[in-house]
């Protein structure tokens, strides 16, 4: 058993036993899920059909990914976007720091981007002497608290209002015990001045539109719009898999993302950016760059059995419906991407990390697959990860040996009948004995023989 698995199990058991945490997460998730279910029915005549279509479009994207990326690059470059390619996190950081130095940036504002978490950008910028401020409220909260995002879509859903009020009181000087509105206003006031002063705005991208050469950023607060409107330089960092073939595809994907992600018909702000300000425009960035990030995605891509995981639009629905996630919370996974999607992709994105145990920590209930708006067979991919780990001998010796013995016994009825007594001994000696059931005095087969002579 690796140290990582031991630590995961320890943290998981601790979280699972924490009834306060479980109750809090259950409340938040059931609200989210109820809103999603209601909205899916309300706006889609046939949600299953909509998501199958979205899945087919994403499958088409993946099958044609290199060509679509080149198409995106062509159109974006024609409108003055600097398109850069980063093989890994280190290169992405270096490219961004290079841009910051070139444009003599002192202050940067960021909108919410899991990709920037993935490449650990903030620390690198700060080390280079650049002030970095998260502008999304949830991200700002975890930044002030010095922790990581708890959930893909709601970074601070694990904190109560009281805890956030205490944090803001300490760090921003708001009144103790402030309400949600007052706290939001404090964040708004702080950030307005920063938006005005920042030289660099950093965003992610929910979608990269190949035919338009445009990025799409989806949000509710408006901070991403301001990040792309006020600083003189805008840099977007996006995984290479974020491509959609056509701008028109947004008509399907924006409602799907909103329904599954936040239970909304559509998110408040859906913004396309396809270049720096044009000659006739009064404002907007003077320079725009897009960094296309690989960082293990091509490794995942090269594995056809799991490639469909790259369809993911990061809506967070699989986290919201996962009973394991609801029991252990987002931090326990120890990864950038948690929940079912995180368990599926992390072993491929980070081969050296040995994250196979995350695929084991699931009952394969299938709720994730049922909730995915781009029709990813998530629980089948978890099973595929398990099969692969076994085939590559990445699991410990114990279970391999145990299941070999099990297969030997269970491939012949005679062996099974004769070894029932051994089964009793195994149970008595097993660690976690309470979890292994007590055998009946006679098996069904034995009772049948006893009873049914003919």
């Amino acid at each position: 058993m690796t140290a990582r698995l031991r630590e995961f199990r320890r943290a998981a058991d601790e979280r699972a036993a924490d009834l306060v945490h479980r109750e809090r997460i259950a409340r938040v998730m059931s609200k989210s899920n109820a809103a999603s279910e209601t909205m899916k029915v309300r706006q889609f005549g046939d949600w299953e059909r909509a998501r199958r279509l979205a899945g087919q479009i994403k499958r088409h994207v993946l099958a044609n990914l290199p060509d679509l990326l080149e198409e995106f690059e062509r159109h974006a470059t024609a409108r003055g976007v600097e398109v850069l390619w980063a093989a890994d996190a280190g290169e992405a950081r270096a490219l961004l720091l290079g841009l910051a130095r070139r444009f003599q940036i002192e202050i940067a504002v960021k909108s919410k981007s899991m990709t920037t978490e993935e490449i650990e950008l903030n620390a690198a910028l700060e080390a280079a002497g650049i002030e970095v401020l998260e502008s999304d409220l949830g991200e700002l909260i975890v930044q002030l608290a010095g922790t990581r995002p708890y959930h893909i879509v709601g970074p601070a859903i694990h904190l109560t209002r009281a805890e956030i009020a205490e944090l803001f009181h300490r760090k921003l000087g708001t009144a103790p015990g402030a309400g949600a509105e007052e706290l939001t206003l404090a964040a708004r006031d702080l950030l307005r001045r920063k938006f005005a002063a920042a030289g660099l705005g950093i965003t992610g991208a929910n979608f990269l539109l190949a035919d338009a050469g445009a990025i799409t950023v989806v949000e509710n607060e408006g901070n991403a719009r301001l990040t792309m409107a006020m600083p003189r330089v805008h840099v977007a960092i996006a995984g290479i898999e974020k491509v959609l073939p056509r701008l028109a595809d947004l008509a399907l994907f924006l409602p799907l993302l909103a329904s599954s992600g936040t239970g909304q018909q559509l998110t408040c702000y859906n913004t396309l950016a396809r270049g720096p300000r044009t000659a006739g425009e009064p404002d907007g960035p003077e320079h725009m760059a897009v960094i296309l990030l690989d960082n293990g995605r091509t490794t995942l891509y090269a594995r056809p059995a799991v490639r469909q995981a790259l369809r993911c639009i990061r809506c967070g629905a699989c986290l919201n419906v996962c009973p394991v996630y609801r029991s252990i919370g987002g931090y326990t996974y120890g990864t950038v991407y948690s929940g079912p999607i995180g368990a599926v992709i992390t072993p491929h994105l980070e081969e050296q990390g040995r994250w196979e145990h995350l695929s084991q920590a699931s009952s394969l209930c299938g709720a994730c697959s049922a909730a995915c708006p781009v029709d990813i067979d998530l629980h089948r991919l978890l099973l595929e990860n398990r099969r692969r780990a076994t085939a590559e001998r990445k699991e410990g010796w114990f279970w391999a040996a145990a299941l070999r013995a099990w297969a030997w016994v269970f491939s012949r009825r005679g062996r099974l009948d004769r070894l029932r007594g051994v089964g009793r001994l195994v149970r008595a000696a097993a660690p976690g004995r309470a979890r292994v059931p007590r055998l009946a005095p006679r098996s069904f087969a034995q009772m049948w023989s006893d009873r049914e002579q003919s």
Binding site: V324, A361, C365, G366, L383, S411, R435, F444
Partner: protein
């Protein structure tokens, strides 16, 4: 068309731990006029190893299952997970194997117990009472792999005066997941706790479940938590209503 003979697939968990569930199903089928063929060589469908990712071992045991059920025309099974294993997963397990066609053939001949009763129209012939409130937990394999939203529920609702209650929304997993509940007992226990809490809110004292694995896991948690909850298989509740077949010697046949 007069009912005829069906073969029964007895899940390994029923065979070894809960034989009374198997007897309940056999008794119900016989009461409805079916002949019951039990092929004594059967052991297990292979799912525990399959779900753990050990497909070589799974294939070995599943291959034996194919041999045992060769020639069986209709197979009935009191477990959504075993049924799903044969119907949905044997194709993958035997892909490219010489037994691929045989696995596909068997897949088309297996039905889950409640599914079978409804399709045969037998559920409507039960003519029995089970008065009172009865909670129902639908297993994940039944719901998501077999696409059975309410088959077991509808069977139970055929019992007179039986008020079947389920928590609102999609059913949450009980936390069994085969070896998952052994490897990650803490998480699995929390999941069982959460699921039972939903039934506790509904105030039921009796729970019907259509999968032995869920029953094993939920009973363990119910006992640990001291909940006075009677958790039994759908087939057992139907058998009780009909007044038939507990395991021989375990209680008089009424």
């Amino acid at each position: 068309m007069a009912p005829s003979t069906v073969s029964v697939l007895i899940p390994c968990l029923v065979d070894q731990v809960y034989p009374e569930m198997g007897w309940a199903m056999v008794a119900v089928l016989r009461r409805l006029g079916y002949g019951v063929d039990y092929r004594r060589g059967q052991t297990c469908c292979g799912q525990p190893a399959f779900n753990a990712g050990h497909w070589g071992e799974a294939r070995r045991v599943a291959g034996h299952c194919l041999e045992v059920f060769r020639g069986a025309e209709r197979v009935v099974c009191p477990s959504g997970s075993c049924t799903a294993m044969l119907r949905e997963f044997y194709a993958e397990l035997f892909a490219g194997d010489a037994r691929e066609a045989e696995a596909a053939a068997l897949a088309g001949r297996v039905e889950e117990f409640s599914e079978f009763l409804l399709r045969e129209g037998a559920a409507g012939r039960l003519g029995a009472r089970l008065p009172g409130r009865l909670g129902f937990h639908n297993s994940c394999h039944s719901r998501r792999e077999l696409g059975q939203r309410d088959e077991s529920r509808r069977v139970l609702e055929q019992l007179e005066d039986c008020e079947v209650v389920e928590p609102a929304g999609e059913p949450d997993c009980c936390g069994f997941g085969g070896l998952f509940s052994v490897k990650f007992a803490g998480i699995a226990g929390a999941m069982a706790q959460s699921r039972l809490a939903r039934f506790h809110e509904l105030g039921v004292a009796r729970l019907a479940v259509n999968d032995p694995g869920c029953i094993l896991h939920l009973r363990q948690e119910a006992e640990r938590a001291g909940l006075g909850l009677e958790i039994r298989h759908v087939a057992e509740w139907v058998a009780e209503a009909l007044g038939v077949g507990a395991a021989p010697g375990a209680g008089a046949e009424r």
